[in-house]
């Protein structure tokens, strides 16, 4: 009987684990050292540590930018945390120790500005537009946005609740085409995943996602994408303890070096 009881407890425990897995773990910085305020030294360099909360779509570019920044400023350390913009905004609202917030949409940045959680005003640093992603073999022979509405074509898009889904809605309206997607994902990564795995014939993702996926997908640009341009703002968080370093990092992102890296990744100019 006791073994049986134990087995049941184990089951319940595993069950709760399973339920817990419903809520995906949000990415939080693993280490957030207190940023010590330090003035730039004689050579104009900044030092200390800051934590940057950046939208998931910025992962590749911001990782690159942070390492470039650290190379130029040996005393500086940039900790990065990537997640969906709304997750990050919520975490900052709840007091997460972020110094810089880079959002994939203006909506979440406005949310923080409205609650007086920003230091100064946000600055737009990049734009992103949608593109059709298809498997390399393009099994459904997609050539334009209208092709996506053909019966039998398995299209995956983002749900309207998330920015990429809202953009897709706008594009649909502009093109006068109604899509019947087989799935409306919660994140653009999931849309891309369905295309790279070959489950879907096509997906609506950002240009940068197509470039980031390399040869796993083929991108098909379309004119209507210009109707829904996603703007990326960046700002210093009000509670930052090293605003100097934060400002320096933002300056680098918005400056020529940062813009070059962003444009290489497919982002448009603000």
């Amino acid at each position: 009987m006791s073994t049986r009881k134990h087995a049941r407890y184990a089951l319940i425990a595993a069950l709760l684990l399973g339920l817990a897995a419903c809520a995906p773990a949000s990415t939080t910085p693993t280490a957030s050292q207190p940023a010590t305020s330090q003035s730039p030294d004689a050579t104009g360099q900044v030092s200390g540590t800051i934590t940057v909360f950046a939208a998931a779509s910025l992962k590749a570019t911001f990782t690159q930018l942070a390492s470039d920044f650290e190379a130029k400023n040996p005393g500086a350390k940039i900790l990065l945390s990537f997640a969906g913009s709304s997750d990050l905004a919520t975490q900052i609202t709840q007091g997460a120790p972020a110094d810089v917030f880079a959002s994939a949409d203006t909506k979440n940045m406005t949310r923080l500005a409205d609650t007086k959680l920003l230091d100064g005003t946000a600055k737009n640093f990049a734009t992103n537009v949608l593109e059709i992603a298809v498997p390399p073999s393009n099994p459904a022979s997609i050539a334009s946005f209208v092709d996506l509405a053909r019966p039998g074509v398995k299209v995956v898009v983002c749900a309207s609740q998330v920015p990429c889904g809202a953009a897709a809605d706008t594009v649909e309206k502009a093109a006068g085409v109604t899509l019947s997607p087989v799935s409306e994902e919660s994140s653009v990564t999931d849309v891309l995943g369905k295309v790279t795995s070959g489950e879907a014939d096509a997906g609506l993702v950002y240009v940068t996602d197509v470039i980031g996926a390399g040869d796993k997908v083929k991108g098909i640009p379309f004119d209507e994408s210009g109707k829904a341009v996603n703007t990326y703002p960046i700002a210093t968080v009000g509670s930052s303890r090293n605003k100097e370093l934060a400002a320096a990092f933002i300056a680098m992102v918005t400056g020529p070096d940062g813009q070059k890296t962003l444009s290489d990744a497919g982002f448009g100019a603000p």
Binding site: A21, P24, Q161, P181, V182, E184, D190
Partner: protein, 287 residues
């Protein structure tokens, strides 16, 4: 355990109670915090929106279907694991239990490469006119994958506890293996089967990762309640919290049911007069 409940020697040091209380709080407090966040004035409209109701309905339907599938596949598995004796039995048991410890998203990926369009069986199935990707069937498969071990573990435990003495007697009385299974084994382990099925149902209901990875997310087709919560969270925190509460309520009801049914069976003999040797033997077998 029974002794302690009757006021006998419990043998638990006091400080253990302190830690136990902390452990209890650790589970209860977050749930309470969530309940505190519920926007009660909007609660009913939030959980009765079309999207919510469709998600709840889909969750209940797919969980019921995957529970049936778990029983169909899990009962034979449990029987073979508990009663059979063949090379590789231990390996098979470990493999069957793997989804218990595997992150569900891994299960989703594995299913994708099996039943997906490009998958191991997917191509054949597609030729046969069956498309699993992005269908409700995919949701059921994902749920079955993660829930099956619950049924197998639960039932195998029940089978082992019951032992095979009743079955041996039934055989010497002239009952063939199928008759023994139908008239002796299954009725004896019914409480274990029931609690296994209930746990499978609960696990199916909570399934998220494998579904998201494998089945996609479309209202009324593949977007189950956990997926709806995940999506609502993006824009409408109140809706997400309200739906979470619904899911918690359903899960609590289901787990309570799983705990309750075997207890009731356990108590039954005690109600009817003296506990005789038969009662002990029977009780020992069905617990």
């Amino acid at each position: 355990m029974k002794q302690a409940m009757n006021g006998g020697y419990g043998g638990v040091p006091r400080w253990i109670y302190v830690l136990a209380a902390a452990g209890g709080l650790f589970v209860v407090l977050p749930l309470a915090a969530m309940v505190a966040k519920v926007n009660w004035s909007q609660f009913i409209p939030l959980i009765t929106s079309e999207a919510s109701l469709q998600a709840l309905g889909l969750s209940l339907r797919t969980s019921a279907a995957s529970t049936v599938l778990c029983i169909v596949l899990g009962v034979p598995l449990a029987l073979v694991l508990a009663r059979g004796s063949f090379p590789g039995q231990r390996v098979l048991r470990s493999l069957v239990l793997l989804p218990l410890v595997l992150p569900p998203v891994v299960g989703g990926i594995a299913l994708l490469y099996t039943f997906g369009r490009q998958g191991l069986l997917g191509r054949t199935l597609e030729v046969a006119g069956l498309q699993i990707a992005f269908s409700t069937t995919a949701v059921i498969l994902a749920q079955t994958f993660v829930a099956l071990p619950f049924l197998v573990v639960s039932l195998e435990g029940a089978l082992r506890t019951a032992g095979n003495r009743y079955e041996a007697v039934a055989a010497t009385l002239g009952a063939g293996p199928t008759t023994v299974l139908r008239r002796v084994t299954l009725p004896l382990v019914l409480p274990g089967l029931a609690s296994g099925a209930v746990l499978s149902f609960a696990r199916s209901l909570g399934e998220f990762g494998a579904t998201l990875t494998f089945a996609g997310s479309l209202q009324g087709v593949t977007r189950t309640l956990p997926l709806e919560i995940y999506l609502q969270r993006e824009t409408d925190a109140d809706a997400a919290v309200a739906l979470s509460l619904v899911l918690v309520a359903v899960a609590v009801a289901v787990v309570a049911l799983a705990y309750r049914s075997p207890r009731a069976a356990e108590r039954a003999p005690a109600h009817s007069g003296e506990r005789t040797t038969t009662a002990r033997a029977a009780g020992g077998a069905v617990r």
